[in-house]
Amino acid sequence: MEGMTMETALPPRNLPAITEMNNYFWKGGADGRLHILRCQGEDCRYWIHPYAGRCPSCGGADLAPEPVSGRATVAGFTVNHQPWIPGVPVPYVIAIVELEERADLRLMTNLPTIPIEDVHIGLPVKVCFEPAPGGVFVPLFEKA
């Protein structure tokens, strides 16, 4: 695999339709930052993921995506060995990371540049992006 850009050799990811509800997440990485919905209430400022129509903390309706730091910690992971998807080599890691803004702000993700043997719970990581068709930037994570 040396000298080969692995990600570009892989078949496209199975991405959702981009809608008014989710575009900030899937397209927001164009500026190199991860965007998460946030309550704009001055006294609340609660982060919300996945998207919702009201703030689950204060009930406020004024919500807008904001960039987060992109720093996170691996909370759980699996090394997938099953070749579910033709053309995607195994094994690869699927992880759940906790964003530093709040522990229960968790995302499922991949850690494609981290050697499998280095992945462990508690590993500090930071966001990176993989461009995809349609202006999508898939948030992934790499070593912090």
Binding site: P11, R13, N14, L15, P16, A17, M21, N22, F25, H49, P50, A75, G76, F77, T78, V79, N80, H81, Q82, W84, I85, P86, G87, V88, Y92, I94, A95, I96, A103, D104, L105, R106, L107, M108, T109, N110, I121, V138
Partner: protein, 395 residues
């Protein structure tokens, strides 16, 4: 204690079709056989059935797939004229039973036919579509998971398992006792798809799917149907089999698939809500339970169900099952005597109810638990879904 309607409801009949690993009989036909058997087991006829409930929602004309039979088609075929029906999803795979309780309490029905028809082997629906790279775009509920080349529940549950097992030091050497013991039980169950025993050493050699789950940690997709009749308790007392009373039943939270990743109590899941709510509806205690019938789509789920029910402390399930003695047929808490979904086949939730009723009636044959069985616990689901139930013999 408040008045809880399920205590006035009983399971009066159970029925199961043949279970097939390979497509052999149209799954819709299997659904009809299970329903006919459950109605006959209850000593009833189609004319007595005035309510029908199934999970999941299944459109008319369906003959196979994730849901393999619809309520209108079952009613049309068997001559049932229901005054009430439901396809709700609140309590995972045992939702039909929870719905039936509500219908009986409201006076809409007296005898409710509940069924779960699985028929995913009949078409290459899941494996085939994936094998051809032909996935539908993920919709809300899965959109933050599927794009990460995580198409299977094995991947999603495995992440939770890694957090829990690492935190409590639970090992695969311990987890393996669930499939080992259940396979030994399955050897006594003529319905089970896989009946040959294996050792813990053989378990540890099995092909890895998604750590910590190997092939032997994953349940067996199959075609087949389980049906259960829930009756008003006073009406059940006139019927041939001893009524099995629903002591308590409760549901977990209905969450988006991604929100169960985001619970403040991660890696807890909806099933933890279900067991907590269930215990609030009964004076019985975990020590009163004689047999456990706990969801085993993946072995780790069974361990977490044991902890959530309080059969052992949080994080203590590994030590509890190690060696297998305590969960064997002659142990203190026989677990999945039919072999569970890991060996009998993925009858998807109602299979556990079927087995609990047989154990409580003393009709489980060679796999009957050695102890007297007066109270049985059923846990169905994992991830975003959970339903918990206690069944008991009428005292």
């Amino acid at each position: 204690m408040a008045k809880y309607a399920e205590k006035d409801c009983a399971i009066s009949g159970v029925g199961q079709s043949e279970i097939f690993r390979k497509p052999q009989v149209l799954p819709f036909e299997l659904a009809l056989r299970a329903c006919e058997r459950a109605i006959a087991d209850a000593g009833l006829t189609a004319a007595d059935i005035d309510g029908v409930a199934c999970w999941p929602m299944t459109p008319a004309g369906t003959a196979y797939g994730f849901g393999a039979a619809s309520i209108p088609d079952v009613c049309q075929s068997l001559g049932i004229r229901p005054a009430w029906w439901s396809e709700a999803s609140v309590a995972a795979q045992i939702s039909p039973i929870m719905e039936a309780v509500a219908a009986i309490a409201a006076g809409y029905a007296t005898h409710v036919l509940c069924f779960r028809a699985v028929g995913q082997r009949w078409i290459p629906a899941d494996g085939g579509a994936a094998g051809e790279g032909n996935h539908p775009a993920p919709v809300a509920g899965y959109e933050f998971m599927i794009p990460y080349r995580a198409p299977s529940a094995a991947n999603w549950i495995a992440c939770h398992a890694s957090t829990h097992m690492t935190h409590y030091g639970i090992t695969r050497e311990q987890m393996g006792w669930i499939p080992v013991v259940q396979r030994r039980n399955a050897g006594l169950n003529p319905q089970a798809i896989y009946r040959h025993p294996f050792t813990i050493e053989e378990y540890l050699q099995a092909r890895m799917i998604s750590t910590p789950f190997s092939l032997l940690d994953c349940d067996i997709p199959c075609d087949g149907t389980t049906a259960v009749i829930v009756s008003r308790a006073d009406a059940a007392r006139d019927l041939p089999n001893p009524p099995i009373v629903i002591e308590a039943i409760a549901a977990g939270g209905q969450e988006r698939m991604e929100t169960w990743l985001a619970r403040p109590d991660y890696p807890h899941m909806a099933l933890h809500d279900a067991t907590k709510r269930m215990w609030n509806r009964t004076d019985l205690k975990p020590s009163d339970v004689d047999t456990a019938h706990l969801y085993d789509g993946f072995t780790w789920l069974t361990m977490v169900w044991m902890e959530a029910f309080g059969f052992c402390g949080e994080g203590e399930s590994g030590a509890f099952i190690e060696g297998g003695q305590r969960i064997s047929l002659d142990g203190e808490l026989p677990l999945n005597p039919n072999g569970g979904q890991l060996s009998e086949g993925r009858m998807h939730g109602l299979g556990f109810v079927h087995e609990a009723v047989l154990q409580l009636r003393g009709q489980a044959g060679a796999r009957q638990a050695k102890k007297a069985v007066n109270v049985s616990a059923v846990g169905a689901g994992g991830g975003s879904l959970g339903g918990a139930m206690l069944l008991r013999r009428e005292s």
